[in-house]
């Protein structure tokens, strides 16, 4: 039997963070902090995160899902979210999980949450046994551009004749406005210039994982699809730096972006299998 998931609010400045703790079944073999993706990708991926957390728990791995500041059910407004607050949120979650289970927690990040997990791991003074990356964003600037494109498409659909929207429909102009200090409301999210700049500066090549093992999963539309060149390049660079990286493609939908909720049992299973082989590391005080 898998223990029941425990929802609670964790005190973390400012305010509190919504957390969902999935305790492991039987003896604890490891622990992971789940780092959610950005914007509505977090919502769409919620089901997959919960399903995988339960599957991991069945294999003895406890999971703490934490909603970052200004996201989900946590305190604050998204407009006030900052990268540094999110890093502090992860430390609060990591410390809670380490104290609860007595093992050093690893990290499990999806999309932009993958980059946040990597950034956190580089700064973390504690050993990080495993990092699980689900389709991690590799360049913050490319991701920001994609996010801003939501605004330009929405504006075009709403007011094709509007002069203002013509100017705003240029993603480059939007990025310049944002980085120049203008907050933007994109698809219902108010993005602060500070957070935009922090995301824009993220570079996977400079965030080589600091962890004993790294399990990187990419979703593919067909089994014979080659990995994108950028992915192979980044993986090679990380390996050259001494990273123990296992990169794997899973055939399935990009569940964080589908119109309806979709699941990938294969990804959940592959994630469990990868971590099952890993030995737990004792948390050092």
């Amino acid at each position: 039997m898998i223990p029941r998931a425990e929802p609670f609010f964790l005190d973390a400045g400012p305010g509190q963070r919504f957390c969902l703790f999935q305790a492991p079944a039987g003896a604890c073999r490891g622990a992971l902090v789940y780092v959610h993706p950005f914007g509505d990708e977090m919502n769409k991926a919620r089901r997959m995160a919960a399903l995988t957390a339960r599957a991991l728990a069945a294999r003895g791995i406890g999971v703490l899902q934490v909603d970052l500041y200004g996201c989900g059910d946590s305190s604050g407004d998204f407009a006030d979210a900052r990268w540094e607050i999110w890093l502090a949120d992860l430390e609060a979650a990591r410390a809670w999980l380490a104290a609860r289970l007595g093992v050093a927690p690893g990290l499990w990040g999806l999309r932009l949450g993958g980059l946040l997990a990597l950034d956190f791991a580089q700064r973390c003074p504690h050993p990080v046994p495993d990092i699980v990356l689900w389709q991690p964003v590799q360049q913050g600037s490319a991701y920001l551009k994609q996010f801003l494109r939501l605004l330009s498409v929405n504006e075009m659909l709403a007011q094709p004749e509007n002069e203002q929207s013509k100017a705003a429909s240029n993603t480059g102009a939007l990025r310049a406005a944002l980085l120049g200090g203008q907050a933007l409301e994109v698809a219902g999210y108010e993005l602060a210039p500070e957070l935009g700049a922090a995301i824009d500066a993220l570079d996977g090549a400079k965030l080589a994982p600091r962890a004993a093992r790294v399990h990187w999963f990419e979703m593919a539309t067909a089994p014979d699809r080659p990995l994108p060149p950028a992915t192979t390049r980044l993986a090679a660079a990380w390996r050259e730096g001494g990273c123990d990286l296992r990169l794997q493609q899973i055939v399935g939908q990009q569940f964080w972006a589908t119109q309806e909720i979709s699941e990938s049992a294969e990804l959940a299973e592959a994630t469990c299998a990868a971590l099952e082989a890993a030995a737990p590391i004792e948390e050092t005080a």
């Binding site: 425990e6 089901r47 059910d73 119109q259």
Partner: protein
């Protein structure tokens, strides 16, 4: 008023449901249960429901939102909005346990959450009112009509738009395919089958819009409708009303109020629109006395 958020877990037919209660210091006797629609979980698109719940709690209304089975953090298999009566009942039960001073609950639902609310409300005397936003009445035919009437007709002849869309890598091919599919659906219908209520079916299998109408009729309590101006789902519902005397009669009833937010999209994706919805909801909650 000071309010705080409380994490909640409760059971429904052997599965755990996860929710969050926004609890004012001194809650009103009337509470609000948010029923989530579409492929969303309890926070809502761009945190719409999180912010709504906090806004209502600040005005004294305890507000509970939760994931029904198969959604978000809750257990169980994925299910349709037409199969969540037990989940809603479990949530109302839990709400009364969490807030002992509660006397009645208003259900607030967006999209197919509004449809689910209409199916459930008349079965539970603790439900005293309904707030229904952009209710989901989708039938293949209704969608085809609404798409042609309100969307493509206005957009197709604007080459400028298509140019821009293409340069922004808009999925032109799939949009065109979708337009063709809509046309086929519409053309395939017999002309005399335009009233959804005439589809041959038993009561249990009556078309969705008809079951929703019966739900509202049986409920008999106060209801507030809120419609977005820039939303095909809302347009489809309003077209349905325009074609149906029964719906028109129901919506003209003095217990039914309506608001229209012309610039808003389906999920009210701007702060100004979200705040307007919260304020309309709170104002309306103050206007009606309990019927019984």
């Amino acid at each position: 008023m000071n309010a705080r958020d409380v994490a909640v877990r409760f059971a429904c037919e052997g599965e755990d449901l996860i929710g969050v209660l926004s609890l004012p210091e001194r809650p009103q006797r009337r509470g609000v249960l948010v029923v989530v629609g579409g492929p969303q979980y309890r926070a809502g698109s761009h945190r719409q429901f999180t912010l709504l719940a906090r806004g209502l709690a600040e005005q004294g209304y305890a507000t509970l939102r939760f994931d029904y089975r198969g959604m978000g953090d809750s257990g169980g298999a994925l299910r349709s909005f037409e199969q969540v009566d037990a989940d809603l009942r479990a949530a109302v039960d839990q709400f009364f346990t969490l807030v002992p001073t509660l006397e009645e609950v208003v259900i607030w639902g967006l999209c197919d959450g509004a449809s689910a609310a209409l199916f459930y409300a008349h079965q539970d005397p603790r439900v005293s009112g309904l707030v229904l936003l952009n209710p989901w009445v989708r039938t293949a035919e209704g969608l085809a009509k609404a798409t042609l009437k309100h969307y493509y007709r206005a957009r197709l002849l604007e080459p400028e738009l298509w140019k821009k869309l293409l340069s922004g890598r808009f999925a032109f091919r799939s949009a065109a395919a979708s337009l063709l599919a809509q046309l086929r659906t519409l053309l395939a219908r017999r002309p005399d089958a335009s009233d959804a209520g005439r589809e041959p079916a038993g009561a249990a299998a009556a078309p969705l819009p008809e079951r929703m109408r019966l739900g509202l009729q049986r409920f008999g309590g106060p209801a507030l409708f809120i419609f977005s101006g820039a939303d095909l789902t809302a347009k489809e519902f309003l077209d349905l009303v325009a074609d149906s005397r029964d719906w028109q009669a129901l919506l003209k009833d003095e217990r039914v109020a309506q608001h229209h937010l012309a610039p808003a999209d389906h999920t009210f994706s701007r702060r100004a629109w979200r705040d307007q919805v919260t304020q309309w909801t709170a104002d309306w909650l103050r206007t009606f006395a309990r019927a019984d």
